[in-house]
């Protein structure tokens, strides 16, 4: 999930989610960056509205304590 987290940091900080930025973060964490995974991440996120995905999460998260045991 490191790549996702990196993207989330950039999103949080309202920075551009691009290959370079993700790679910098991954490498700053001492992880060997895998360009293919970064490319795939960027490509996939192009079609996703992150804020919306986060909002639906928040809602769902708020909802079903009921579902919990």
């Amino acid at each position: 999930m490191e790549y996702i987290y990196a993207a989330m940091i950039l999103h949080s900080a309202e920075k551009d989610i691009n290959e370079e930025n993700v790679k910098s973060i991954i490498e700053a964490a001492g992880i060997e960056a895998d360009d293919a995974r970064i490319k795939a991440l960027i490509a996939a996120l192009e079609d996703v509205d992150i804020d919306e995905a986060m909002e639906t999460t928040a809602m769902a998260a708020a909802a079903p304590a009921a579902a919990a045991p």
Binding site: M1, I4, Y5, M8, A40, A44, V48, A53, M54, T56
Partner: protein, 293 residues
């Protein structure tokens, strides 16, 4: 049958005729059954089964005579008990047993009758106001006291043990308590069909067990069909569902972003972040204002 009276010979012949005529022959005990009720049950069983009372030794003779054509039927003679009768039918023995069991009713214990099993007076409110009934209960050995204006039995009490005769005073007490411990009906002891004798313990069908077995069979079949990916009309949807679910699971766990997994992956990332945030929320300065709200 040299010393057997003529009427007995005729009776044996009639019994023999009955046994020969039907495939399924059973021995029953007409449990304390009043004549009127027996008549009613005979009417209910009409067209399905014939009941014929007789003496044990005559039934024995008839069974012996029939043993040549109905191999092993003499084995029924070991199950004669109580007020014996023969029941003859074409019904499935298990079904016969069920019908007879379902038609049993409960009745008050008459003084002197033998308790078929322990007769228990249960603990609890009797519904009686305080009065002489309290003494009556105590008289027959039932611990009772007054509680909140009612006579209350303090604990479950066996008043007659199985096999004992019911004393007169106990019978009266039970009747006032509306406890009807006697079973009245036709008690099927054993049935003969096709060379085999089924005793009552074998004849009792456990419906709950049958239901559970069916559910087990159905569940196993579904599981097998789905897990082995053997498509059937009933399971193909579930197989697809399972395959899809597993693929999504793998996609999300491995953070492989696709149109179908991106949302859940981001959701999962955020939820984990929020979880950690809430775990450290009570530490000053650990989280930013946006999260602290």
């Amino acid at each position: 049958m040299a010393h057997v009276a003529e009427w007995k010979k005729e009776e044996v012949l009639e019994l023999k005729g009955l046994i020969d005529k039907y495939d399924v022959v059973g021995i029953v005990d007409l449990l304390n059954i009043p004549a009127k009720q027996l008549q009613e049950m005979r009417r209910n069983l009409k067209d399905k089964a014939v009941i014929r009372m007789s003496k044990k030794n005559l039934i024995d003779l008839a069974l012996e005579d029939c043993n040549a054509s109905k191999n092993n039927i003499v084995d029924l003679s070991g199950h004669m008990d109580g007020q014996v009768a023969i029941i003859a039918t074409e019904m499935n023995p298990f079904k016969l047993y069920k019908i007879l069991e379902d038609s049993k009713t409960s009745a008050p214990a008459k003084p002197g009758t033998i308790a078929p099993e322990d007769i228990v007076v249960p603990a609890g409110d009797t519904g009686f106001e305080p009065g002489p009934f309290l003494g009556e209960l105590q008289q027959v050995g039932i611990p009772a006291k007054i509680d909140k204006g009612k006579i209350v039995v303090q604990k479950d009490t066996v008043v007659v043990e199985a096999g004992e005769a019911v004393p007169k005073d106990v019978a009266a007490t039970l009747s006032r308590l509306d406890i009807n411990p006697m079973e009245v009906g036709i008690d099927l002891k054993a049935v003969y069909e096709d060379e085999a004798v089924y005793t009552s313990d074998l004849l009792a069908i456990d419906e709950e067990q049958t239901m559970a077995d069916l559910q087990g069979a159905i569940r196993s079949a579904f599981n097998l069909s789905i897990n082995a990916a053997i498509p059937t009309d009933e399971t193909i949807s579930s197989i697809i569902t399972l395959a899809y679910t597993r693929a999504i699971n793998v996609g999300v766990e491995a953070a492989i972003l696709t149109s179908e997994t991106s949302g859940p992956i981001i959701g999962l990332a955020q939820a984990k972040m929020l979880a950690i945030a809430s775990a450290v929320a009570d530490k000053a300065g650990a989280i930013d204002d946006e999260l602290a709200e």
